[in-house]
Structures are given as structure tokens and as C-alpha cells.
């Protein structure tokens, strides 16, 4: 079959025979969709179905028992004036912003630092990658232990140094402790993505810039940064999606207390602790819609930059 000819023309010669299902599925015309079947089935079952289910319950009152009672927009109206929900929303945005800025800044710094050949580079990079690979749950239990006010290792060290103990879980700073835990775990992600980016940059361009006598700062600002910008964009999009759904670090530590209740935790608490499925669903739908809208804008931009090479 000559495949650079128009679609299906290859079948014209054997028009008498009806193509089998397999042939239809793998023909130039339908193959692209055949490849998507498993994905689409998964999306329908695990995404579309819960989504519709949640939309349905967001308009109802339901406590997991008895029949759901239709309540119209009541859940949403209540949500807009719910102090706890709004606070959780702002906190989530704050955490997202802080973590992304710090991760990008430090990640870029470390990537530039380690983008050279040095003795023991494999050891350094292997160690630097570790936090990303350890279960967030284990880490949250671990940090709870290390940062404990009375018997945590940090406070033992601080008091031995004569600096006095610090209560990192006091309400005014507990949220930043969560940020620290998150950044500690995810810094390798941006570092390694940017490092991979730096390694794949075309060398000749930089050679030319050096020959032309461009200063280091100028090369960085005019060459390195623009070339890395698609990767920075990818980090921002992926990390904001994951950060908005931050949950595990809270599980072993504050459990939503001391001013650290984030969006997913309040949603979880409403649905699974207070069993208010209707209200919890409304929270989910609202926060989902807002984050979708935000990410859609960023993602469109991203797709333009990621389009296949021609």
C-alpha cells in the first residue's frame, strides 16, 4: 500500500472485498483514533463519570445515606460566603505561588551550578534526585518527627547551639513549613528538567556568542533564558496543577489544623469526615472550574511552543 497517496486510495483496488475490522482500525484514516481508544475509555470511566456524578450531587443535599434531596444552587451560594473555604482557596494560591517561584529560582541556580563536568557528578546528581522519589506520606511523617517542638532533631540541634527552640507549627508560620516540605521534595524536579534543558542547548550558538565577546550575563539573558522558556513554562503548568491539589504533606503533620487547611483537605474533610457529599461536590466543582480556566490559558501557550518540529 502506497501510504503517501491520499487516504483510503490504497483500498480502491480491492474494493470488492469489505475491509476487516482490523484493517479499518489500522487504516491511515482511523489509526490515530484507534490508538486513543484505551485512553478515552479510561478518561470516560475515571474522569467523566466522577465529574458528572459530582456535578449532580453539587445540586443536592446528601449525607451518604437515604435519598439525595434537590437543593438547587444552595450549596454554591453557601460556598461563596464560606470563610473557611475562601481562606483555604487563598492559602492554596499562596502555597502554589511561593513554591513555584522558589523552585524555579533555586532550580535554575542549581541547574546552572551543576551544568558542567566535575568529579563525582553522578554521585551529586543521584543524591540530589532523592527527595523526588521518596513517598510524600513517609516524608510528612518524617518531617513531623524531625520538626517536633519537644523531641524533634531540629530543636535539639538549635538548643544545643544555644539558639532556643522554634515551634514551626505555630499558626502564623505553619503554612510556610508546609511550603518548605513541598519545596524540599520537588526542587529536584525543576532542577533536573532545567539541567536536561541546559544540556540539550545547541553549543555552537554559545560558542559564537563567546567569540563575539558577549558577557556572561548577556549570554544568559539573551540566549539561555529564551531557549529555556518553554521548559520554564512546562514546569509552571505542571507544578501549579500538582500544587493546587496538595494533600499528602498535610496528612502526617497538621491535618489541616493551625491555619494550614488547603483546598483539597477541606474538600476531603467535608466529604469524608463530615459526610456532606453535596457540599463537598460543590467545592470540588468550583475549585476544579477555576483551576481549569487558569491552566487552560497557560496550556494553550505551551502547546504552541511544543508543537512538533517541522
Amino acid at each position: 500500500m502506497l501510504s503517501n497517496s491520499p487516504p483510503l486510495s490504497g483500498l480502491a483496488g480491492e474494493a470488492a472485498r469489505k475491509p476487516t475490522i482490523w484493517e479499518t482500525l489500522t487504516s491511515e484514516r482511523y489509526f490515530r483514533w484507534t490508538l486513543l481508544i484505551p485512553l478515552l475509555v479510561l478518561l470516560a470511566v475515571f474522569m467523566l463519570y466522577p465529574l458528572i456524578y459530582s456535578i449532580y450531587f453539587s445540586f443536592h443535599d446528601w449525607g451518604m445515606q437515604g435519598d439525595p434531596i434537590f437543593s438547587g444552587l444552595h450549596n454554591y451560594r453557601q460556598l461563596v460566603f464560606d470563610q473557611n473555604f475562601l481562606l483555604a482557596f487563598w492559602r492554596t494560591l499562596e502555597v502554589t505561588l511561593i513554591c513555584i517561584v522558589v523552585e524555579l529560582g533555586l532550580g535554575l541556580g542549581l541547574a546552572l551550578l551543576w551544568n558542567r563536568d566535575f568529579k563525582g557528578q553522578n554521585v551529586v546528581r543521584g543524591l540530589a534526585l532523592l527527595p523526588l522519589l521518596v513517598a510524600p506520606l513517609i516524608l510528612s511523617l518524617l518531617w513531623n518527627f524531625i520538626l517536633d517542638f519537644n523531641f524533634g532533631a531540629l530543636n535539639h540541634i538549635l538548643s544545643a547551639l544555644g539558639l532556643g527552640r522554634v515551634n514551626v507549627w505555630r499558626p502564623s508560620i505553619a503554612l510556610y513549613t508546609i511550603c518548605f516540605m513541598t519545596i524540599w521534595q520537588w526542587l529536584p524536579f525543576s532542577t533536573f528538567v532545567l539541567l536536561a534543558g541546559l544540556k540539550s542547548l545547541p553549543r555552537d550558538v554559545f560558542e559564537a556568542a563567546r567569540v563575539d565577546g558577549a558577557s556572561r550575563w548577556y549570554t544568559f539573558r539573551r540566549l539561555t533564558l529564551p531557549l529555556l522558556s518553554p521548559l520554564i513554562m512546562i514546569i509552571v503548568v505542571l507544578r501549579s496543577m500538582w500544587l493546587i491539589r496538595l494533600f499528602d504533606p498535610l496528612f502526617g503533620t497538621t491535618r489541616g489544623g493551625v491555619n494550614t487547611e488547603l483546598l483539597d483537605w477541606i474538600t476531603y474533610r467535608t466529604s469524608f469526615v463530615m459526610f456532606d457529599i453535596g457540599y463537598g461536590s460543590a467545592m470540588a466543582i468550583l475549585s476544579w472550574a477555576v483551576t481549569m480556566a487558569l491552566c487552560m490559558v497557560m496550556f494553550r501557550q505551551l502547546m504552541k511552543q511544543m508543537a512538533p518540529k517541522t
Partner: protein, 271 residues
């Protein structure tokens, strides 16, 4: 010289901040109750090591069966995820199927609050008898990881020039042969990175394992979380379990770093 010194001071400092908490897991795992909360800095590292935590963990808790569950679910889940996302990513990269919208939908699955999606999933699984089974948890993990896996592989496929495929097709190869003989070998490193990422995230997943498994398919993370009792935490058992559980991921880190540096560019940097 000064520059070199500065480089190493920064590097060592960063590594210390990274390694210290993880080292704490291994130190604590070998400590007896007397040393566990010692405030004397010397006793942080100089203590009489004991295997007591491990002995209790293996004797009184189903640690090994739970670890096996984690292993089964992660390996099976990774295999299915990689196959599904390989197909989908190829379609997205070659034909831009769905004009980017389906790809966005796929990636955006991570944005839906899983805490709430868990309710319908739970009801659904209960009706099908999938609660507390390996199959059920595997399916969930496939769904969670397919978004990132597809996105990653999409980047790798983008780096395979279309001309190579066209040339092969002119030589009389069919689509499937092109995929199997030309494209597949070219994205080897990408496939490795994607698989390891899936494997690790499935190994580490907690929330759904916590909600959906109880005995038969309980994963090791759920067991570890049960040592957290609010007021009383059994840190010795917790760290002993964690020390073994994170061992494979630590080994993976060593093999991964080279691949990641070569491969994790999402196909986004243009020469």
C-alpha cells in the same frame, strides 16, 4: 580556586540539606526506645544499634505481604500505563489528534480534586466488587499516571522526525511496522524515564490505597500510616518500615539521573 571552593561549599550544603532527613530515617530505624528522643547531639549518631524495630515489624505486622502488594500493583500498573500512553502519545504527536484539546483533557485529569472523585469511584468499585483488590487499585493508578506519562511520551515522540517514518512507509512498511521497527527503538530512553516515573509514583501513592484497600491488597504505605496514632506515634516501627520501603527508590535514583538529564526535556527545547 576560590570559584571551585564556592562551588563545592554550595554543593555540599545543598546535599546535606537533602540527605540529612533521609539519613535520619536510617538512624532512627536502628535505635532503641532509650535513644529515640535523646536530646544529646552525640547520641544522634553514636548509639547502641538494635534490630528490635525490624523484628517487631516483621513479627507483629504483615509488612512483607503489604510490600508485595505494593510491588504487584506498581509493576502491573506501570506496564498498562506505558502501553496505553505510548499509543495515545504517538497519535497526539503524529496527527495532533483532537487539536490539542484531548491532550489537555488528559493532562488536566490531575486537576480534579481526587478527594472528591474518590466518592463516585468508591461506589463504583463497591458495586463491581473491586474494593480491596489488586485489579481495582491497579486500574486507579493507571488512570492517575496516564496523564503525565502521555505528556512525557508526547515530548519524546515529537523529537522523532516525521521524515524518517515517511521514508520507511515509502519503502513499503505499514503503520504498525513503522511504529514497531522505527519509532519504538528511537524513544527507548524516553520509555525508560516514563516507566521509572510511573513505577515510583505508584510505589509512593497513598491516598487511594488508604481509602480503597484494607487487608488483601493493602499497600505498605497504608501500613506505615497506621503507626501514626495522633498522640502516640511509633517512630521506631515507622522508620524501620520506611527504611526498607524507600530502598528501591533510592537505588532507582542512581540509575535514573543519567536518563533524566538526557531525556527530560519534553521535546520542548529547539536547537
Amino acid at each position: 580556586m576560590l570559584k571551585k571552593l564556592l562551588f563545592w561549599v554550595t554543593t555540599v550544603l545543598v546535599l546535606a540539606i537533602i540527605v540529612a532527613p533521609l539519613a535520619w530515617i536510617y538512624l532512627t530505624a536502628f535505635k532503641g526506645p532509650a535513644d529515640l528522643f535523646a536530646s544529646d547531639l552525640k547520641r544522634f549518631v553514636v548509639f547502641k544499634p538494635t534490630l528490635e524495630n525490624f523484628v517487631v515489624l516483621f513479627r507483629d505486622y504483615p509488612f512483607w505481604p503489604n510490600l508485595l502488594n505494593t510491588f504487584i500493583v506498581s509493576v502491573a500498573g506501570t506496564a498498562v500505563t506505558v502501553i496505553c500512553s505510548l499509543m495515545a502519545a504517538y497519535s497526539f504527536a503524529r496527527w495532533n489528534t483532537g487539536g490539542g484539546d484531548i491532550l489537555f483533557m488528559t493532562v488536566s485529569t490531575r486537576m480534579f480534586p481526587m478527594a472528591v472523585a474518590a466518592v463516585p469511584h468508591f461506589v463504583f468499585f463497591k458495586n463491581l466488587g473491586l474494593l480491596d483488590t489488586h485489579l481495582g487499585l491497579t486500574l486507579l493508578y493507571v488512570f492517575f499516571n496516564i496523564s503525565f506519562a502521555t505528556f512525557l511520551l508526547y515530548g519524546f515522540f515529537n523529537e522523532v522526525p516525521k521524515e524518517v517514518e515517511q521514508a520507511a512507509m515509502i519503502d513499503g512498511y505499514g503503520r504498525i511496522e513503522v511504529f514497531r521497527k522505527i519509532v519504538f527503538p528511537l524513544i527507548g530512553p524516553g520509555l525508560a524515564v516514563t516507566s521509572v516515573f510511573c513505577l515510583i509514583w505508584m510505589w509512593n501513592e497513598f491516598f487511594f490505597a488508604f481509602l480503597f484497600t484494607r487487608d488483601d491488597a493493602r499497600t505498605v504505605n497504608v501500613l506505615l500510616s497506621s503507626f501514626w496514632g495522633g498522640l502516640q506515634v511509633q517512630y521506631g516501627l515507622m522508620t524501620a518500615g520506611a527504611a526498607i520501603t524507600i530502598l528501591p527508590t533510592l537505588i532507582a535514583a542512581w540509575f535514573m539521573q543519567r536518563y533524566i538529564i538526557r531525556g527530560l526535556t519534553f521535546g520542548a527545547v529547539k536547537g
